[in-house]
Symmetry: C2
Subunit: 318 residues, 2 copies
């Protein structure tokens, strides 16, 4: 039995070039990983399923990059520096080699862009939709990881970038919304994790998280973790020009796939936040404030009146 | 928006009780993990798909334990001490709460048995078969991780436990093989990762790996990594009594799901191996030897004549 089985030939061809030092060439049962001296590790895992998190005809390089970037967004939310990742890929047995070539090319691109390496993983077949999972490792100075639970009454609520493009982009990518420039579909297919900003937020924000399941729902998580109420002024929420044109504010406030940072910032640290945002090359916008009270998110419209939202955000299980 | 969405209620109900200190109560975007001082981390990821790696009607607690144990087997193969894991679970939207209750009960059971904790993960829906992925973390004394590439000509080939029960157990569990005692199906559904043995092998074995895709195929990986040929004497391969009764030697040698350890052992260290096996509470058996030569696995039958095997082992992609 000298021949390498097809599964392993495929792994060697497409994934071995991505492997970092600790990955042992993907030849062993596991990676051996020496954490950076004096640092804490930050570890997160996210899964993506074809037809749920990406579309069956999405290009494989963009699927790979979205998978990596949704996990990078979790590192950004903790203020961590990316190190490496492990990957499991379950796809149909007749998946063409070109799909793996595109998928690994996307990973290679974003490994360079975000300075991290492949450490290991598993490739299996499935009779169903493609199912992908990625575990990402980063590091922080001990004790400086950004958390959800530290916001205080009087802190301002800030977000990076623009909100709602991802949810509108899904509509655009599926032909349900005009998107002449392709901007919205692009925001759905290729999130921009705010890693550079996140790394600059220690000592500035009192709490942070990434917005992945909808602004209102995710802010609710932050309120519960911090034991505070939140007031969001809808007219302040930053929308891209295509999102403003779409005129679907409620979807922007509740839809998923933003991958922007949501931050609690004491008023006295706003200038420092601005400097971090400039260095991180992303705009930041104040959208409201935290108050003492039950962990409820109130969204106020143009006249200051509470808006009634039909849905808080995305849930996989009802 | 004060209500916790169903997805998060589910996570809090079933998974939060499993979370270790670094998991931050599963409240944050990632776990913060301080590696044990002076240790190297060992990290592996494995995926399992319903209908491929487990059966649709397998009890959820056994599915969870098999998922955890296949990953523990990778730690065993590296000689690592388990620390924690991250988990992604993609299941149909109508998956009953009782499935999650059973699944998390299985995890809780094996967390106690193998001394590790949940660090984080992701729960999503899928329109297809359940798709599970687990990333496991363990630790070793720096430089002592067991590898596949260190075997030398003249080393003996040893295996733990018995070989072939997993492949026969799949036949039994699907009604294609008589299994009066249920032993074989049990070996398929609930592997016994050799963690206690693996931790005792540093300084004894020159190479090790776990047997998960079939003895002959996996030994071929070890041969390629070490640059050696291997001779396996089929009559020496340890079979359980039910496997002997099934009389399907070729399937035992090539079928997957054993999760036993495959080891290269210099003749002078056999006594030490025996002591490690006794301490690890699992028998070990010599099945052949490594020789100088091209990385080919030759299996010899009762009369010493080479056996021709139709298949080397399991591959997800042909």
């Amino acid at each position: 039995m000298a021949a390498i089985p097809a599964e392993f030939a495929l792994i060697y061809r497409h994934f071995r070039p991505l492997a970092g030092p600790g990955a042992l060439n993907l030849d062993d049962d596991a990676a051996v990983f020496a954490p950076p001296p004096g640092r804490e590790l930050v570890i997160a895992a996210d899964a993506m399923v074809e037809g749920v998190h990406f579309l069956p005809d999405d290009p494989p390089d963009l699927v790979a990059r979205k998978l990596l970037r949704t996990n990078l967004s979790d590192l950004a939310a903790m203020g961590a520096v990316p190190l490496g990742y492990l990957l499991t890929v379950s796809v149909r047995r007749d998946t063409p080699d070109a799909w793996f070539a595109g998928f690994s090319a996307g990973l290679a691109h974003d490994q360079r862009e975000f300075s991290l390496v492949l450490l290991g993983g598993d490739t299996t077949s499935t009779p169903g939709p493609a199912s992908l999972s990625l575990t990402i490792l980063g590091s922080v100075t001990p004790g400086t990881a950004l958390r959800r639970g530290g916001a205080r009454a009087g802190d301002e609520i800030w977000v990076s970038g623009t909100i709602g493009d991802g949810a509108l982009g899904l509509l655009a990518a599926t032909g349900r919304l005009a998107d002449p420039s392709g901007f919205l579909a692009g925001r759905y297919r290729l999130p921009q994790p705010r890693v550079a900003l996140g790394q600059r937020l220690a000592g500035i924000v009192t709490a942070a998280m990434d917005v992945s399941d909808g602004l209102v729902q995710d802010l609710g998580h932050l309120c519960r973790a911090s034991g505070l109420a939140a007031i969001v002024e809808a007219p302040l929420v930053p929308l891209s020009a295509p999102a403003r044109a779409a005129d679907m504010l409620e979807l922007c406030l509740t839809g998923g796939d933003d991958y922007e940072l949501l931050m609690a910032v004491p008023p006295g640290r706003v200038a420092a936040l601005g400097a971090a945002a400039a260095a991180g090359d992303v705009p930041v916008t104040r959208i409201g404030a935290f108050e003492t009270g039950a962990p409820v998110v109130q969204v106020r419209g143009a006249a200051g009146a509470p808006m009634a939202l039909r849905a808080g955000g995305w849930s996989h299980f009802t």
